[in-house]
Subunit: 591 residues, 2 copies
């Protein structure tokens, strides 16, 4: 193997163009492929910017030609040569109009045949991709994702810094979180028997920075949750964390939508019109069955419960009597697209969300066609047709159940149908702020109210008096930014009054002692003058999936973990020595 010696790269492969014709250049990179043709050797050389064709010709430089005969895919080479116009141009290649005639070749490293191909959409298993991540990351699409992520971070940092936000680093060896998800713990050697926790978010630190007068804070920071991993979740994830003082909801939303607009412009060249539309949590649940509606298509849920107040159809009647909801979605003019078989598949689909069945009707030739038609009165049918503005060939799917089941199942059904109808366009971006979330939600598991957002979220001023009397009705000064049905960020105005904070803790079922024990330092801090403040946190990984049009969260992270939280490349987590455990004064009880 050779060294670069005095050769220094003059140009990146993908950035060469016709302006360089006649110039001497030095390029360095990996051999994508080599082939011989008409007594010449051709090698496509790849770097992070793209490919350039290099030609080895005995008449130009015999030594380089001879060396080039040994080239194989993924060899690392340095080439000095002259840029010439290509005889046969390659329109599929960005640099396809030119090529480099080699005057000098250095082979900087050889390569065995790689276990995965270095090309996009290779159908190798994800296991192999993760094990050989350093090869997987050679693929143009993966490099593009990482470069886009880097640029996105830069755009965010520039915008925030220019708007008076300061980057402050908060601890990773933090205090265990008393509320919320499961922490990753770190045993302390110096204080044996005690543990740090890796932060689930820098929430309390950023609030304390506001107490300290830091005014505007941001950080792009890793966060950790030891939860069982669903698809597109990672045990460590990156948050764009923002907090501001002397603000209310409008101020936080106002500056953040400018940030979002900037990101879309710089990264996607997409213009987002401000203000971004708003929708209350209640409206989102009513119309879309969830608090992160995908607005790229219609199919809004319609509440038709009242129509069946006196229904003779038992399923509807009993739902009505039990305080449940009957809701439907109308798919315009699509009667022909839904066969009995197709509908039966959809019924199975909604059942996975807990629905007991799926009612439907089609309207064709002015006829109401439905398996349940015989149970409905003419009045009910007419009301349906009128309320839903039914036209020829419309199809309507109806669910009757507990409100939560109806919303979840029908909300999912609407998306499923949009998928089937190819209405989900990844180049279209529909943004919406969801506001006025409930402050509390009831946890069946814990048999108490828990914080919907977190226990520091401020209630809407008019609702404060209901904290004790009607917690479920208290709205929060909380907001989520939802893009194409994904929650990309969320935040709130915080409680800054210790009396109110204590009322909140009590509503969550903490005794004053427990509150003191868990959040004592926050309550102490609240004694010494706290400014109004609030903020937001974006999930950068999800945002990057959206911006790179990736379906898999692992495609926007350089070294991700599997769904069992392992790294296949480094084979971690792994065992440690007895000495290490002894120093930490812990023992493993696992067998």
């Amino acid at each position: 193997m050779e060294t670069m010696g005095t050769l220094r790269r003059t140009n990146m492969c993908g950035q060469l163009n016709k302006d360089h014709i006649g110039k001497e250049v030095v390029v360095m990179g990996w051999v994508q492929k080599r082939r011989s043709l008409g007594g010449l050797i051709f090698a496509d050389v790849r770097d992070v910017t793209g490919l350039i064709q290099v030609v080895f010709d005995t008449d130009v430089n015999k030594e380089a030609f001879d060396k080039a005969e040994s080239l194989r895919s993924e060899f690392v080479i340095a080439v000095r040569g002259e840029v010439l116009e290509r005889q046969s141009k390659n329109p599929d290649m960005a640099t396809g109009e030119i090529e480099v005639y080699a005057h000098e070749l250095k082979i900087l490293d050889t390569a065995e045949t790689p276990p995965i191909y270095i090309k996009d959409n290779d159908d190798v298993s994800e296991q192999m991709r993760l094990k050989y991540r350093y090869l997987d990351l050679r693929k143009p699409s993966m490099q593009k994702n990482l470069l886009t992520r880097s640029k996105t971070s830069k755009v965010i940092r520039d915008f925030l810094y220019d708007n008076g936000f300061n980057e402050v680093e908060t601890p990773f060896l933090a205090k265990p979180t008393p509320e919320g998800a499961r922490d990753y713990l770190v045993p302390s050697r110096v204080n044996p028997g005690n543990f740090y926790a890796l932060p689930q978010s820098p929430q309390l630190y950023k609030q304390l920075l506001m107490v300290s007068g830091m005014n505007r804070y941001y950080q792009i920071v890793r966060c950790f949750r030891d939860e069982d991993l669903r698809a597109n979740r990672q045990p460590e994830f990156t948050q764009v964390d923002i907090e501001m003082s002397f603000v209310d909801v409008e101020d936080v939303i106002g500056i953040n939508e400018k940030l979002i607009q900037k990101i879309f412009k710089e990264i996607k060249n997409v213009d987002i019109t401000l203000p971004i539309r708003r929708m209350s949590y209640q409206e989102a649940m009513d119309k879309y069955g969830c608090d992160k509606p995908d607005l790229r298509f219609g199919f809004e849920l319609e509440n038709i419960t009242d129509i069946f107040a006196n229904s003779e159809f038992n399923a509807f009647k009993s739902t009505y009597d039990n305080g449940g909801k009957i809701k439907c979605v109308k798919i315009d003019g699509s009667a022909d697209e839904f066969s009995k078989k197709g509908i039966s598949k959809l019924e199975k689909f909604v059942k996975t969300y807990g629905a007991k069945g799926l009612a439907w009707f089609k309207y064709e030739n002015n006829t109401f066609e439905s398996p349940i038609a015989k149970f409905l009165t003419e009045e009910e049918i007419n009301k349906l047709i009128e309320r839903l503005e039914i036209k020829e060939k419309d199809v309507v799917f109806i669910l009757a159940d507990k409100e939560s089941v109806v919303n979840t199942a029908l909300g999912a059904l609407r998306i499923e149908i949009a998928h089937d109808k190819n209405l989900i366009d990844n180049n279209k971006f529909e943004l919406v702020w969801i506001t006025e979330f409930p402050l509390f939600e009831y946890s069946e598991e814990e048999d108490r109210y828990v914080a919907k957002h977190h226990p520091f979220t401020a209630p809407v001023d008019e609702d404060i008096d209901k904290i004790e009397s009607d917690p479920g009705a208290v709205r929060a000064k909380a907001y989520d930014i939802v893009i194409n049905g994904d929650e990309i960020g969320g935040g709130s105005i915080r409680i800054t009054n210790r009396t109110l904070q204590n009322r909140m803790f009590r509503a969550l079922g903490f005794t004053d002692e427990e509150a003191q024990d868990k959040f004592g330092y926050l309550l102490e801090a609240f004694k010494y003058g706290v400014p109004p403040h609030g903020g937001i946190a974006y999930g950068l990984d999800r945002f990057m999936m959206l911006l790179t049009e990736s379906d898999n969260i692992r495609d926007v992270i350089a070294f991700p973990k599997t769904q069992s939280a392992s790294c296949l490349m480094t084979d971690s987590p792994s065992g440690v020595t007895d000495k290490q455990l002894k120093e930490l004064e812990i023992e493993v009880t696992a067998e």
Copy 2:
């Protein structure tokens, strides 16, 4: 307590100036102090930008005046008022030429008397400062440190991004490090009995990013070492981590000194002339006794061993015979500054570094004055005078011992004397690249050679053949940037050849199996085409100490840990529940 209502801040306190005279403004912040004078109430209002004096006058607004009577230090207020020129200007205050006459006052929060004063150089204990960190961070000097840190990160990010470096995030839940300091471990719940480690640095990840073709990488990233903490060490610290492909030493140094120049210009308005001087490790050890010389003053060490080859002075003779070194420092024209008592203090000082004694002489009235004069021959004395270019009133301190002891003790003495003579100027910056470090150093403790930098550091090409035959003589392609005697950053060109990497591992005493076990994935990666690469990492905390002229590392970190790795504010690390331990399948054996 009141809300802001519709009031919105128009200006930051410290940014008001004479241009605002006659304008209505709204400022918000904390009451620094309130006093009554001549029927008026004055309050200095503080935000992150500084102070502004607010005046409450019954004639201007009686309601505001009445409310203002209740103001106390650290109350949070919003004031709407008119900017007027001050009658009695305060030249000690940036906004001392103006004041705001209040038309409206809102008290956003009250405050109890804070347990520490919100002013710089308060002589409260550091314990109190750390417990009430959110109050300590209200101090102007602490806020300035955090703002300077934020700006420094921004300058670094801008420079690197503009030079083609991409920010790539690497894992925090990483693989335990086989070599180097002690890891912080994180038990895995999903894979019980196994552990992640928090990274000591992203070294292997950044090298694998180079293998993956990412070309230029950077990250400002937290790193972790579970070591017993010395002063100015923290268990978690921040590294500016950089790696580049297709480079040699000169390329890395070349771009990094431009980065350093930029930082000094933007943050300190100090011009650093390029190129930054270079010094080999050997020269630094010879002349300054250490590899991070403080070049703000002279007092270079001089090797005078040869003069005493035949000495009758037993201490020198035996040092010579045993292969030790005799070195000295000359303090020009300072004979009068060193009393017997002073010298005896310095002798005690060098003894703490293992020296057995401290010889010295003064040259006054053409006379060689020294307790050891009687043991030296006239020839020796003349040689000393000639070699050291001794002039009237010079003082010379001499140490004779093993080379390592002489270097350490005399190197420390030179700094101690510079301190005493007030030669250490924190506004002066002397930068130097230390190069050609030894590749290995011998570890008495482990009875083997260990990597001086890390096991992936490339040897200097000419020295490769000595890896097996004379490891101690192999120089590395490693470099440190040293500023004012502090190592601010260091890096190296990496080994990119698997044969050489294996020779390195063997030289470190690993069997091939051990190397495979510890670094298998790196060696595997090295099969598939590795570009020449190298990089550097800066210790951002130390850099910030330098840039903010702080003596204490905790003054440049928002929420630092104590020397026993605790956070006094949140009281962490702390105990966890049995349920948590059970889920992780570990037990605490500590009592």
